[in-house]
Symmetry: D3
């Protein structure tokens, strides 16, 4: 049976999640186009590599040519000085969507972030597509791209899933990750579901594993068909042994965004 | 232990779902009364057969006598000319509810349809009891009966569950059914749950199996206790091999009702 | 300045509201086509008369020809035997929508009723487009036409406003009407607003004057631009002198539909 | 690894749930302080006993000293004369919260009750933190403590989980408990989750096992991380054999609170 | 025309609002029964006086005999030591409702308070019947009575309006009152509307004049028919000249309850 | 009486709305600082002029020094090429918020736009603070600044009102403006209310006059105290005479954003 996509462009392909996607998206596309500012390791025969900066409009748009889907993980991976956010996340994402528009790409899967909604409270019972409430410039840039994705669906018919990734790491590294953790395999499941869902239109959802604590109501994105299969529970003892308990007087313990809410301004 | 019902009337008993109900409702009633326009096959000792048209008021009302529950599957099984819809679905269902009222039937389980809400979007995150948004005359007739059921509960104390059946077939036959499929066994589970739920009053819910993609939020009908146990996933490879991918430019791919939204008027 | 419509068909034109519309819609159309089972009085030069029964499919469809809007007030004006409801309200309204579809009528304004939602509680704080909860067969038929109107918008592009008329009479006749009253002038304002609103699509709203007690939240239909200017307050003393206080133990005093909830079945 | 709490005060420790908590909370605290009006049986080395009445302000406040959490199960365990409710549930709970405030207790887990919301309908699809709608003086006192807990979080920073316990018994004793049952082990899981959740602030949730029928939407309290593992299903046959079916004409069969809605006033 | 009530009991009749009600309720009842701990001034022929403490159960219940409505303003008028709150507000209100139950009083209008919801944010867009979030023991006692009123409606059929009075004073005394002010005349209008509304059941609403700033959405209580006619605007210049601007860093400036959120515990 | 502000910075002061604000904000501040890329006309003694481009970070931040509020109207005034949007609206607004943060400005009033939510339907009954659904790059930039404003409140305590201005012109120029029009005087009222509201935190609202058609529910922003006093109604006859009716088949007639939804990409 043929694969659902011919060529998928992965931005940020040399990064933490990008590396996982190279492994995980093999069943979905004949070829993977790997884009990053730096070289990827261990290039495979079904992979092509493109090295450029997302702030380079021409290069970015050119990279999208011939692709029928984009998994857009590139841009600043954390809170960063404004110029970085502006160039790689805001301008870079605009270039990606322009590429999609100009070259007829059908779907864009975007790694938005928990930090687009980081100031919502842990006990607010928010929906996965809750209103923006960013906790950082990084989070604001995620909101910007969510807005852009909405426009490109409504006006240009390009489908997008904006995946608000919580904490995707090899294993939970602190007590917050006991609920915010997204295993790499579940991250692949989430991107796979987004690429194969019967209809995305413009969809915002959240990315967490099947952890015991679930501060987000996922019922608005059942149409994606994401079913996490991992849980942080197996790491609980280890995490609790290695880390101090959360201080309930620390405001960051009340918010979805965690310690990001305690960050100062990145340019200070 | 005695069964919860003495006699259950099944309308449309010779049809696809009716045939399954004959098998599935055995544990719930001492006797099953099978009503249809045509004869049922292989009548069993605990079954009685009644052959009449639902548009026949006297016959329909007579059929309900002595029954303590009705599983009302009869009426046009798909988009049909107005006269069919009018006579078998609208008039016929009115006769059923009148029978229930006149003969003291306690519960009516009605096979409403996804087509009562077919124009809602797949990514709208709708609830199982979402407002009417029919996609066909067939769907409008389902809305009519839902209204009737509401009235007969509020005014006459007859409990109803209106089950918006999505796609109940032996197995998924197209890509849409990968999310809309309701296995026959799950259909039996849903009807069984509706017949044994502690309190129905007037309830609307949706009928799907435990498929990966779930475009409908079922949390408003937890009081029924329906727990699907089948999934379309085992049929995915077969379906995807046998059918073309959904065309995202086809409006029907965006709507819960699927290809029904592309149907013209049945009388044209 | 030209009028917004060339020809408006008014059904039920000889009835209570129809008579008011003949007066009120003059500014909106060059010609008014008056349809009813009986003759209208005092025909004016800008008026044409058509006498037929809405259950007559051919006559009804023919009546819509050449009209660019329909104000559909016809059908049973109150709880009635099923056959009347079926023929004049259900079948008749279907004929109207079929006429609109076949003859390219752009807008249908339908007099739905409070009785489509009559079992909702007076203190439930419902929205004007609340879910169906009919209190009578009459109310069920209103729900049916609301479903039909929804379909004809989604599938055929015919705009509809379904106006859930509360109590439109010359003046409030009982204590319930102190809140449910819709003056004739406000009724004309509501129909006029519906005919001239920038976009209706499929809209459900409620019809009450600017009475002190307002059990329905109208904020979902601000796009119609209806601004009532009358109030029942001037009639309060008269009504209270002429009628007994509401008995709070009477269930009908708790429900939007009032005494309709106490009606038995019309065929008994 | 050290336990999360040093000393947990359990009120009502000699009662049905208190006895279970003595067993279940061992992993969470070095010491358990058992408070009740009567002596507890089989005192263990890690346990301390305090015998007093919650209406005794000084004794109650003194009991909280040195504790870092309170599991407050004490007070009238069912509908009771007003004086009992007033003294043990209202005044007693106030004394508990004052103790928590004066002695710096961080978290209070309170056994609220289904009877705080007992008049909500079984098919209303309510959320676990639905608005108060008590069915008894007992239920009103639960609402009072929920209000108190809200205040002590907002003003004094003491976290609380108010657990609306449904029916926590060894096994389901009637047909209502087929959906309202909370196994003792699940009750321990719920209290444990509440004591270890990353952030409670002020949280209201409901306590039921993973029964088939689920009349309450739990999605607003995913941040607690409660995952029930028991189900009433294994007891269904036994319960149905031993008890009469629910009478659908009995109003109590429509309400979350069950037979409490049929209770008269406890002082009559 | 006869007045709607024969005898209305006013508790707290010697207080600020009670004095206004003596003036305002004359059109609604043949006789006003004035209850307070202290004597009222200037007793009129249509008035009767009863001097007792609400904590006196027998006296309170006796006072309700022969009354067909109660306007219950008594109890602690502000944050007070727990014993006062307990005796006059909690126990006293229970006595009132017991009196209503024992003597067949039809309606109770209760002066709840903004402080029952004082911790909600000014820009949260809350509804007038928002969930409890009290800012004081005073506020908790208001929540208690709201729960009691809910019970006495659902179980005993006694209608109640719980009026969350914001700031009812002769004129706005500080900048917060520019939005929270309820003029005495509007307070009379609100109580009058509550006493004459066609159906109350159990209703919670808020009491403010028609001030420019309206932090509460009143649409859920349109069934009461309250139409404020005063506004704080005429006092703005005076208030702003006499008072300092709000300090935006003061948390109390963010909350509906204002300076109550800054109060410590009344017993400290 | 002193004015509430000492110095208000107005960006875009030479533009259409800026010119009106120079007139309207006189009562609110001792001095107005006028910032624009071009010179303002008729400078008044209480005014200061600063000419710079918002993309000039240093100049923009410097301009905010000594101001206690900012009315930020600058940036691209309509759909524009990406580079314009990026530099003047995105980068420029970031500079403004950085200035506010560095120089302790208390409040920022931002002219967001209907085009931040332009793809919402006219009959969707949206709230004034509905989720982003931009109809243009211009709209996306408005969403970006709304996100930024949210962050600067949550993290840095700077209050913002994001005013989604609909159509602020001397008078309605087309039929859409009959509902979207915001008179200049009402625009001043809206900005004035936002500058004097008791608490803004982070607030999003919409800016329309008191037109008959109101497609947006304003109840979530009653805390601002905006009361429009103008209406498009006086211009209706003129507008209808001068313009063609809306074509209901034009998709732009269904959307809040109007003709913006029909615009192509500005760089094409």
């Amino acid at each position: 049976m043929s694969k659902p996509y011919k060529r998928i462009l992965i931005t940020g392909a040399a990064g933490r999640l990008g590396t996982e996607m190279r492994r995980g998206l093999v069943p979905l596309a004949d070829r993977l186009v790997l884009a990053d500012r730096v070289a990827c390791k261990n290039l495979q025969p079904h992979e092509e590599e493109l090295i450029f900066d997302l702030s380079d409009e021409a290069a970015t748009i050119a990279a999208t040519e011939g692709c029928d889907a984009i998994v857009h993980l590139g841009g600043s991976p954390q809170e960063s000085p404004w110029d970085d956010i502006l160039n790689s996340s805001i301008r870079g994402s605009y270039h990606i969507y322009e590429g999609a528009r100009k070259h007829g790409v059908k779907r864009v899967i975007y790694s938005s972030s928990v930090h687009a909604i980081g100031y919502h409270g842990i006990n607010d019972g928010i929906d996965c597509d809750a209103k923006p409430r960013p906790d950082s410039l990084y989070g604001v840039s995620k909101c910007f791209v969510e807005g852009l994705a909405s426009l490109y669906w409504d006006k240009f018919g390009i489908e997008s899933a904006c995946l608000r990734i919580f904490s995707s790491f090899p294993e939970p590294a602190d007590r917050r990750m006991l609920w915010s953790w997204l295993s790499f395999d579940d991250c692949i499941r989430l991107v796979t579901a987004s690429l194969t869902a019967p209809h995305l239109g413009f969809t915002i959802t959240a990315g967490m594993s099947d952890n015991k604590v679930k501060p987000v109501n996922m019922s608005n994105s059942g149409h994606i068909g994401y079913q996490p299969q991992d849980s942080s529970e197996q790491f609980r003892a280890k995490v609790e042994a290695a880390t101090d308990p959360v201080d309930p007087k620390d405001p960051s313990s009340h918010r979805i965004g965690g310690w990001f809410v305690n960050l100062g301004h990145p340019d200070d």
